[in-house]
């Protein structure tokens, strides 16, 4: 084989460069994990935490369709019997009082841009 001394190191460098993102990802972390602020005035959310984490947007759509279209109730109760309002503005944000410290925390991390707040009014940020 001609130019063995150039081709083999060249190949090694090439493979190294191409797989760089994988090495880099393994060696470093993707930044700090999001840490949404927990409310202090309530212990339990309307559904278990895993469900809320993965499917809160589905729940919000269900609330909307049920209330707006089918005349569904606006009140709900958590498993431990606490009453809440089935509403983003009047329910969720009643406990999670800061959009910045709660919603944005994960949405920014996951680079998603929901359009809730194009119309719904977010609570006043206190600081």
């Amino acid at each position: 084989m001609y130019d063995k001394g150039k081709i083999i190191p060249g190949l090694i460098v090439f493979v190294g460069l191409v797989t760089f993102p994988i090495w880099y990802g393994l060696a470093t972390t993707a930044g700090p994990l999001p840490n949404p602020e927990k409310p202090t005035n309530a212990k339990e959310c309307v559904e278990p935490v895993e469900f809320m984490r993965s499917s809160h947007m589905v729940l919000l759509n269900e609330w909307r369709d049920n209330i707006v279209r089918s005349g569904g109730t606006r009140k709900g109760t958590t498993a431990d019997g606490t009453e809440y309002v089935r509403s983003l503005q009047k329910g969720c944000m009643n406990c999670h009082t800061s959009k910045k410290k709660f919603c944005d925390e994960c949405h920014t991390y996951a680079a998603v841009n929901p359009y809730c707040w194009d119309c719904h009014i977010q609570p006043k940020e206190t600081n």
Partner: protein, 283 residues
């Protein structure tokens, strides 16, 4: 010759028989159409109506109360618009009202414009000068609902014609279909900010109600969100001291509005169109 005349007569006879049958078939089609719609069939705007089913919320607006208190109409408008974060785009540079961008859920109109199909010849002057409150009629047979391609506009089980703003694509078919001008389109964002970061066109936003965004249509929702909490509509509440607007279920003969309608002479807007408005005016 004879043969063809014979044929001709046969065909003519058959056609005549078919002709007699046709109206019934046609009526059948009409009935099917009526079932498909949400309204009871027949009667038009002036005639009698079928026995109602379900709820149908409506108003009786007492025009005389607005004649004696000229500010009352504006107070009702303010109550509605501040409750529902309806933007006020103010006036044009030349001082005229900004009609193009204007968003209104309820507004005051002249008698002749509210009731264009009534004769205004020699009508009494007071009537002509009284501001008449106009809003969505929550029609029992609403053309806007039929026109909406996305079902963003629909009729709910309380007889309210409502909108799901999430679904509205801003095609404005409903605006073309509504014969009362009850709908407004957001040509521009209602949420423009001023220098200090507050909404420029919504003075004291109600944190319990959303705003809208550019590109959707909006209109009076008969305060569905307040009714759900057992409250009266905001405009009815604003006029409560003089009882200028009576609210209730038109299908319940004991409701306040039904009681008033039984006693007083009332008119509806453009009844001949057959939209069956749920807003009545006591003249």
């Amino acid at each position: 010759m004879d043969n063809s005349r014979r044929k001709f007569l046969k065909i003519a006879g058959l056609s005549a028989i078919a002709g007699i049958g046709a109206p019934t078939a046609f009526n059948g089609l009409l009935k099917g159409e009526a079932f498909a719609s949400s309204a009871p069939s027949g009667g038009g705007g002036h005639g009698s109506e079928k026995a109602p089913t379900g709820k149908r919320y409506g108003f009786a607006i007492d025009i005389k109360k607005f004649a004696s208190d000229k500010d009352l109409a504006q107070r009702c408008v303010n109550a509605c618009h501040s409750t529902h974060n309806v933007p006020d785009f103010g006036n044009n540079k030349d001082g005229s009202k900004n009609r193009k961008d204007e968003i209104k859920w309820i507004w005051a109109e002249k008698f002749e414009h509210t009731f264009p199909d009534h004769s205004h010849y020699k009508k009494n002057e007071q009537l002509q000068e009284t501001p008449i409150l106009t809003l969505c009629n929550h029609c029992d047979n609403p053309p806007c609902v039929r026109a909406c391609p996305t079902q963003a506009t629909f009729k709910n089980s309380d007889g309210l014609v409502l909108m799901d703003f999430h679904r509205c694509i801003g095609c404005r078919f409903c605006m073309a279909a509504c014969p009362y001008g009850a709908r407004s389109f957001n040509w521009r964002s209602p949420r423009e900010l001023d220098a200090s970061g507050n909404y420029k066109y919504i003075k004291n936003p109600n944190p319990d109600f959303p705003t809208r965004m550019r590109g959707v249509v909006e209109k009076c929702n008969m305060c569905a969100e307040r009714l759900a909490e057992g409250k009266l509509p905001a405009c009815v509440e604003a006029a409560a001291s003089s009882e200028a607007i009576v609210f209730g279920d038109l299908n319940d003969s004991h409701s306040p509005v039904s009681q008033v309608l039984k006693e007083k002479f009332t008119i509806q807007r453009k009844p001949a169109l057959g939209t069956k408005p749920s807003i009545f005016y006591i003249i």
